[in-house]
């Protein structure tokens, strides 16, 4: 394969070029309620090529080997067109030229588990919620994505890496009268099929939540102090803060870039945040990014002071900061962009009980329904939470959506728990949909969040 890729690379007239060929194997089993609605196992592939010439950088994606010539022509034209029109020529930061093969060690290779065994496992878990009368439907999916990547560059890099992702989970929907509620359930990881075994308790617990939610009260709109669960604090870290640590997002937002200067005190002094793609066994784990740069941990914030940033080779040169190995593509359809690997709030010293006592009266918000950011402002949803009165957890509430201002909220994080937890399933919809972005945190205490109510 590398010989073929080198042949294609050899035809391009550029100061720098790279090519990535990928085979992406996907297995899918999907239940909607009792019915199996999908089962398939397929493979797709394609090429992504990038070139830099005279300060202009561009990319092209193609499916068929026969289209390589046409793609090369387009790439050359676009590279030249950019070179003629940009004020600041694109440069690439230096990176170690690597020749390596990395096949991750797996605890049970999903390729060696038969489809019928996978199907029986999904069916077994799916049956758990469905035995309850008030569970009206489920959407439970097994997904296995294996990316076999071949990367080489005109600098001499040659990297072969596999990314194996398996996850099993979905949504459990309950209904009582006209009220519909749901709870999500997750399991999975990057280190093999074994993470999906023995999930009965997980499915039972999540089913109980879907049922309890039918009795929970909707949340009133308010401004209040809140404790966020590790998963929710992780979503906050990813959405509200993490994206603005991605250099490509702020590169051309001058006001934001000024605010996110390294050395700025942006958070409270208890807050430290790191992104570490090298934590094995996590969904965000990889060895080399899709520019061939070795991944490394980057501390983004230390005691509230901004200390680092996530980079591609292009942005590292633009910012004059160290490369980090965070330029990653979803698959064979995309050139790489800057992404978080495993981002998390570093654990503090407080137990959940101590945080509850610090909170006194407020909300304890438990699960995520995802979030979104618009720079300084963010929104995220939680599936459920509990009222807290006098430091004690009281009744369950549902339909909680929160919004806040990033800079104010970073300063309003006043308590950090000692119970760091990382997500079992990844996902980020920045431009492409990457399933290998992981996040986490311990429980945290945040003041003054706006609750949207229902």
């Amino acid at each position: 394969m590398f010989e073929k890729l080198r042949r294609i690379l050899g035809k391009i007239d550029a100061d720098y070029a790279d090519i990535r060929y990928e085979i992406k194997k996907t297995a899918l089993i999907l239940f909607n309620g009792k019915e199996l609605s999908q089962i398939s196992s397929n493979s797709a592939d394609g090429y992504v090529m990038r070139a830099l010439k005279n300060g202009g950088m561009s990319s092209v994606v193609f499916t068929k080997e026969n289209d390589a010539e046409k793609a090369l022509g387009t790439l050359s034209e676009n590279t030249q067109l950019i070179a003629n029109n940009v004020k600041r020529p694109v440069m690439l930061a230096k990176t170690e030229v690597v020749k390596d093969t990395f096949i991750p060690p797996l605890k049970e290779d999903p390729r060696k588990v038969t489809m019928s065994e996978k199907l029986e496992l999904v069916r077994k878990y799916n049956d758990i919620p469905l035995k309850y009368e008030k569970i009206v439907t489920t959407s439970i999916r097994y997904r296995e994505v294996i990316r076999e990547k071949y990367f080489c560059s005109t600098e001499g890099a040659q990297i072969r890496e596999d990314l194996v992702t398996t996850d099993l989970g979905g949504i459990i929907t309950s209904k009582d009268g006209h009220l519909t509620q749901n709870a999500s359930v997750f399991s999975g990881g990057s280190n093999g099929f074994s993470t999906l075994r023995d999930q009965e308790k997980n499915f039972e617990e999540r089913t109980a939540i879907a049922l309890d939610l039918l009795k929970a009260q909707p949340c009133e709109s308010a401004v209040c102090d809140c404790i966020l669960s590790p998963l929710l604090a992780g979503v906050f870290t990813h959405e509200a803060f993490g994206h603005f640590s991605e250099a490509d997002i702020i590169e051309d937002l001058p006001a934001m870039r000024k605010k996110m200067r390294i050395g700025s005190q942006l958070g409270s002094d208890v807050l430290s945040i790191t992104d570490n793609p090298t934590l094995s066994d996590q969904v965000g784990f990889y060895s080399y990014d899709d520019e061939g740069t070795k991944a490394r941990p980057i501390q983004l914030m230390k005691n509230g002071v901004l200390t680092g940033r996530l980079h591609s080779r292009r942005t590292a040169a633009e910012f004059g900061e160290p490369i980090s190995g965070h330029c990653v593509a979803e698959d064979y359809r995309y050139p790489p962009i800057i992404r978080m690997g495993t981002i998390f709030i570093e654990p503090g010293k407080l137990s959940l009980e101590e945080l509850l006592n610090m909170l006194g009266d407020g909300l304890y918000m438990v699960d995520t329904r995802g979030g979104e950011t618009s720079g300084e402002n963010f929104t995220f949803g939680t599936q459920f939470g509990y009222m807290v009165k006098g430091g004690k957890i009281k009744e369950m509430v549902r339909d909680i959506n929160i919004s806040g201002n990033l800079y104010k909220t970073l300063l309003d994080i006043v308590g950090i728990g000692n119970d760091l937890e990382l997500s079992k399933i990844g996902g980020c919809g920045k431009g492409q949909a990457n399933i290998r972005s992981c996040f986490g945190a311990p429980h945290i205490l945040v003041k003054n969040l706006v609750i949207g109510g229902a």
Binding site: E35, S40, N42, A44, V61, T74, S116, L253, T379, G453
Partner: protein
């Protein structure tokens, strides 16, 4: 493809091949400067087979070995996914004009020139940060099946999404221009961006509460998503739609009429057949506030003893990058329209004594979507008093239930704008919507 269908017919009852070819070039400007040009040439095909009432599925990017590909689909029959429907025989489709050959000759340099023009115009009249993404996209689809259907469509679209970002944020006033062929972004659209941005550059912190809320086309996506979930045959079948038993009843204000407009080739991506080869036809979901129909694909049509309404698409009802060949068809309404009213934006604005214009929304994927609940951050939100935009409100959330909100429609705008996922809708001004702020 024909050969593959013949091979499949020998070993199963029915077969269908969906093939797609895509070419696109994207040009992006950041901070009013050219930043990226990316191109792609992609293709692939998907095979569905039915044997003894069971479904098999396979896809590939490169059809190298037909036999292996067919074997893969046959292997998936083992899962015993029930398929009691039949692929249609579709002929005599209405001719649609979806493709203008001039798009094929549109150069990236012409797109750069137009992008530079728009960025310069926006920059000359504001102090914001300018961005623009334009795209030239050509898609070819062909569906053949064992019943004799052989239909194809070639569609082109030039689009430009541009706007002004409030410095210090990533929040923007933006507009999307979508056209069947290349054209300059209309001056009126550019001026609308500039005017709204300049009027809202001041930050204000109004008191929250129930007030008038105008959902602009960019934020209507939040409401559209809930309407599309409630009227989907999949939600009816799964018993999670709150309007399943309300056919013929008034569910919204009488000013609301919602319909599907697949066949209207004035807009890009008109379709005469869906991704299962079923003929598209006009479909009204809600007429003058009264629930008229749900939408079906072949599978859920059969499950609910109804006909497919031509709404089986290989898509997902949310944001995200999906590849059509890797998806199996499911009920999707890809050409949603809401009937416009007769008030201009400035006329609507004048009727707001106190309220928020939601230009865009954040977190539309959060909340209990089947139930119709929404609770979104304003991104951005323009605060209005006595018919005038006073400034921009941050840290605010707008929340409600679509089946309640659309009962209190004051008026509807007279212009349709693109609103993501193929929808074109007007601005809708509603009364008595909950707005949460820090005060």
């Amino acid at each position: 493809m024909e050969k593959l269908i013949q091979m499949a017919k020998r070993v199963c009852d029915q077969a269908e091949i969906y093939s797609e070819e895509n070419t696109h070039t994207n040009v992006s400007f950041q901070n009013a400067q050219l930043h990226d040009i990316d191109s792609a040439f992609q293709s692939g095909l998907a095979l569905r087979i039915i044997k003894d009432g069971k479904l098999g599925f396979a896809y590939t990017k490169n059809l190298i070995n037909r036999d292996e590909f067919l074997q893969n689909a046959l292997a998936s029959l083992e899962g015993k996914v029930v398929a009691n429907y039949e692929f249609p025989l579709t002929k005599d489709l209405p001719p649609l004009h979806t493709y203008d050959p001039s798009l094929e000759n549109l150069s990236a340099s012409r797109m750069v020139e137009e992008g530079t023009r728009v960025c310069d115009l926006l920059q000359s009249q504001t102090n914001g940060e300018i961005f623009l993404n334009s795209s030239n996209h050509i898609t070819k689809i062909r569906i053949i099946n064992s019943e004799g259907t052989d239909v194809s469509s070639k569609a082109g679209e030039y689009s430009a999404l541009g706007g002004i970002i409030y410095p210090g944020s990533a929040s923007a006033i933006l507009r999307s221009f979508e056209n069947k062929t290349f054209d300059k972004m209309p001056d009126q659209m550019i001026h609308e961006i500039i005017e709204l941005y300049n009027l809202s550059s001041k930050e204000v912190e109004p008191k929250g509460g129930k007030m008038k809320v105008m959902f602009m086309p960019n934020s209507m996506f939040t409401l559209n998503w809930r309407i599309l979930t409630g009227t989907s045959s999949k939600s009816i079948y799964e018993k999670i739609s709150p309007i399943a038993h309300r056919m013929g009843e008034k569910i919204f204000d009488e000013k609301i009429t919602i319909y599907d407009d697949s066949l209207n080739d004035k807009y890009p991506h008109a379709r005469s057949f869906d991704d299962e080869g079923v003929v598209c036809q006009p479909l009204t979901l809600v007429e003058n506030g009264v629930l008229k129909s749900f939408y079906y694909d072949l599978d859920y049509g059969t499950k609910l003893n109804a006909q497919s309404t031509g709404h089986g698409y290989r898509t997902v009802t949310s944001f995200g990058a999906y590849e059509a060949i890797t998806q199996q068809p499911s009920p999707a309404l890809t050409h949603l329209r809401i009937k416009p009213g007769n008030k201009s934006f400035s006329q609507l604005l004048k009727t707001i004594d106190r309220g928020v214009i939601v230009e865009g929304s954040m977190g539309s994927h959060s909340g209990n979507i089947p139930n119709g609940d929404y609770s979104v951050g304003v991104n951005p939100g323009l605060y209005v008093e006595n018919g005038e935009i006073i400034g921009r409100v941050k840290d605010a959330m707008v929340a409600g239930n679509v089946y309640e909100t659309l009962k209190h429609v004051i008026d509807i705008g007279d212009t349709l704008y693109p609103s993501f996922l193929g929808a074109w809708v007007p601005a809708i001004l509603c009364d008595n919507v909950s707005v949460a702020t820090k005060k």
